[in-house]
Amino acid sequence: MKKIIFALGFVIAIAGAGLMLFVHGAKYLSVNIALVMLGAALMRQSAYFADTLFHNASPQTFYPTAGKMIPWFAWLAVIMAAYGLYISFAIAPTDFQQGEAYRIIFVHVPAAWMSMVIYLAMAFWAAVGLALNSRLSAMMAQALAPTGAIFTFLALVTGSLWGKPMWGTYWVWDARLTSELILLFLYLGFIALQASIDDPRKADRAGALLAIVGTVMVPIIYGSVKWWNTLHQGSSINMGAAPKMASTMFEAMILMALAFWMYTIAVALMRVRCIMLERERHANWVKSIGSEGKP
């Protein structure tokens, strides 16, 4: 049953992304995005989420499941990035104010979104690990942190590469940029804190507290362009309002964001498998993996 739901999710997600390529226009956009989101949600719901959070919350059962899911999410990421890059460079028109430089938006905005989404996911798993004392949840949080840090770094760097031609400077200490920089430090702090404590279960608890407290930064980053006067332009997309950009630009941005999202899931699963092997090296289930087949 899980497999059927998973395959159905994959087909729906691909169909949604495929429709975006052929049926342009704002009218169909929300339907297409809804399809992709629904598909991805089904894929996650089928095994990943259910296994981790509910019945099979053990590394032993999750290790093979995660291994099977990686190629699916990796292929989704590749396909969506290919679509997204095609629309970004071949279809989306030149911006009337910013010329071609605006195309940085297609990596900048998805990276910035992912930096916040991954943080929330990381804090969620850390909190679950703290509350239920389940080691797999803590490992999930640990697996998400480096990818989140990379996307935060990319959001900052691509942002400053966009700022230079548009604002005339690589960096200003305004609310949006500063709060995003603090998010990077939170990720790095989380990684460093966990690495500095020898006992992994203690490291999990300390890291979880930092992650949960740091969650306060996410709404601050999100709201910073509204609450304070900043050089940063307002958000490209507002809930409940029509996008203030050409629909092809919007499509490319959403596709790139979805590609990053799928990539994040694939990479986090790869990393959580490594962490499981490293941390549970002396458990019998890891030994039985070691004794079968070649390394």
């Binding site: 460079f89 071949a90 279809i91 989306a92 028109p93 030149t94 010329g99 071609e100 430089a101 195309r103 940085i104 990596v107 900048h108 990276a111 480096p146 990818t147 990379i150 770094f153 990319l154 760097v157 691509t158 590469l161 966009w162 230079k164 031609p165 990539y263 990479v267 790869m270 990393r271 498998r273 490594c274 092997l277 490293e278 090296r281 002396h282 890891v286 030994k287 039985s288 993996i289 070691g290 004794s291 070649k294 390394p295």
Partner: protein, 61 residues
């Protein structure tokens, strides 16, 4: 299609440095992360394998 020629495409309306550095750096980070994880996985599996062999040898004695 937006572009008159490949030349124009690579030039990005004069913003080539900013646009291509952004996309290039993103690609580099992604590729680096995947390669790093693959080698980490390989190393973890290698150690697991070694440890399992040790355990096996130990139990034989």
């Amino acid at each position: 299609m937006q572009w008159q020629s490949w030349q124009a495409f690579f030039n990005m309306g004069g913003y080539a440095f900013f646009v291509w550095t952004s996309f290039g750096l993103t690609a580099l980070c992604v590729i680096w992360e995947v390669i790093a994880l693959r080698s980490r996985n390989k190393e973890a599996l290698r150690l697991t394998h070694l440890l399992a062999q040790d355990a096996f040898d130990f139990s034989q004695e």
